[in-house]
Amino acid sequence: MLVLPEAQRSPVTLGVTGACCLRCPDEPCMRFSTVESGGGNTIQVCPVDAIHDARQHAGPVISDSCVRCGLCVVRCPVGALALSHTGGVTVTPPNAGLTAPAGDESVFIENLAAQRANVDWEDGEWAALAMRLSEAAVGLRQDAFYPLVAHLFTAAGHPAWRPARGDTNNRVDLILVDDEDSLPVEVKSRVESAVINVKSVQQALENHVVMDQRDFAATNSDSSTLVVGYEYPPARSDVTELIEDIATAFGVNVGLISLVDLYNLALRVQLAGDSGSRTVLRELRGRLS
């Protein structure tokens, strides 16, 4: 009989703590499940491929390229991964008494999910955690920021596909894939623009037009086209006015999501078992919050 460690909240480790690595068969710290990935190939969790297979080692190994996004930490169901204030991600290695049993993975995974749901989060902690994690992404360039945004969407229950670079037919940064209602996402890292700007809104409108007219994803003409950036523009600005103008003129909604808000969506799904509502994204116009 497998004994799981008791879950505790810890602001230091950003999750449950007190456990060692269980060498989970489904490796949630490394890849999303088939269901989470939208049914196709499993999507890796780490945006910069900095976490590696534990099978040959004594637990997962984090390389120097880690950008401290916290995704693997919040994915670990037992808190064996921790994000310290001073350094990167630390791993509590497995010990002989606690390993995942072979053969009965479904029960094991169910137990992990229950374990995760037991964590008792207080009001305001979401915001603080999301804020702290997003601050780590302040200096990320496109090659790390874009996959981070993609994987956060996947973590939030909206599997995201990144079209290959140089595909002129499909220049949308990200597509939240769906059988009927795929949503395009324009991504701007903070290095490119401190706040979401007019240019990204213009690009989002073009994304909507191109997605609607070309055949690379099933779309709904009424659905929003999204922009993710590091921060929102001011409440009354050219950006917000242009979004209203586009809605009035063309009936197209442009939705804005800051990185903090995207973290909030992902954390709720990952740590509190929310299901990740698509309606919010599909009908979003202007800021998410």
Binding site: V198, V201, L205, E206, V209, V239, E241, L242, D245, A249
Partner: protein, 345 residues
Amino acid sequence: MRRVAPLLDDVVIPRSPIELGAERTLFASTTLTATGSSQFASACLGCPDQPCARFTEVELARETSVESPYTPDPAVCPTYAISRGVGGTMMVDADNCLGCGLCVVRCPVGAVYLDPYSAAAHVERPSDDHYERVTMTLDEFDALRIALAEGMAAETVPFADAGRLSRQMLRAAPMVEGAAGQRVLRLLTRNTFLLSGAARLKNVGDNNAAAELLVDAGDDLLVVEVEPSTDVPDAVRRVLAGCAIVIARLGANRDGVAAAVVVPRLPNVRVEYYRVAQNVYDRLGIAVYGVPLALLLLGIRAGGGDLARMLRHFCYTDGSVDTDAVVDIFGDVGDPAVVGLAPPK
């Protein structure tokens, strides 16, 4: 696929006299009167209001800001190459001359012409053999200029001149390309549309969120963007945002709004730009026309007025060009792709 406007019956260079402001008397007492010239209607009169170099306040009043007041640049010349010289007559700095012909069609008495070889503008200077220096009042000057202008009114000009257009392109294209050319191309575009009394221009809203120009072309509104680089897809996005603002804030009918992107040369037909433009037309109903520099130059020669309708007549959103329509309007200007009226093959 596209909208069609009526063909122009004739291409006529308008030579309507321009009113002199009563308060402008600076050079009126020292102007010159023509005694005849076989080639030119007149030498430079040194007009006090300098129509070849400056738009009047009345003309510029058509250009107004929707959101914030600003002072429009009165310059006719996109490179500020024409100015008043010694003796009160105008002169052109040939090194900076675009060869666009704006000053040529603005001169009320035909004293400015494009050099047939270099395509640079030249001002016919008065010579003592043919001109006589007289002193006259402002009213007398006004009457003289109107008489001279009427003498050359409704002159029909042949457009079948591929050589001239090619030489103009050779001169002008390098000066409107790249970041340095942006301001020049913008002023050239504005002035080409401003040339026509039919076009009403506006600077729409904020610079960050608006199109460069808004042309009121009769039934339709034309939102115009200027793009001096080859990165034209960005311009489609910008002009589309301009259309949204025009429709939402000015209450324009979506069916009556079209867009134009002014470029030094049209991109190759295989580039993404045309596919995006076609997608935009199919999804949003906004036709985005690529307007090459060569079309502006022909538009200037035709007085500018019907440029908005012209481009609609032979530009397709997919980048192809109706060659027959080009010939109908401008005469035989040669291979449209070679002179820059169509995308390169």
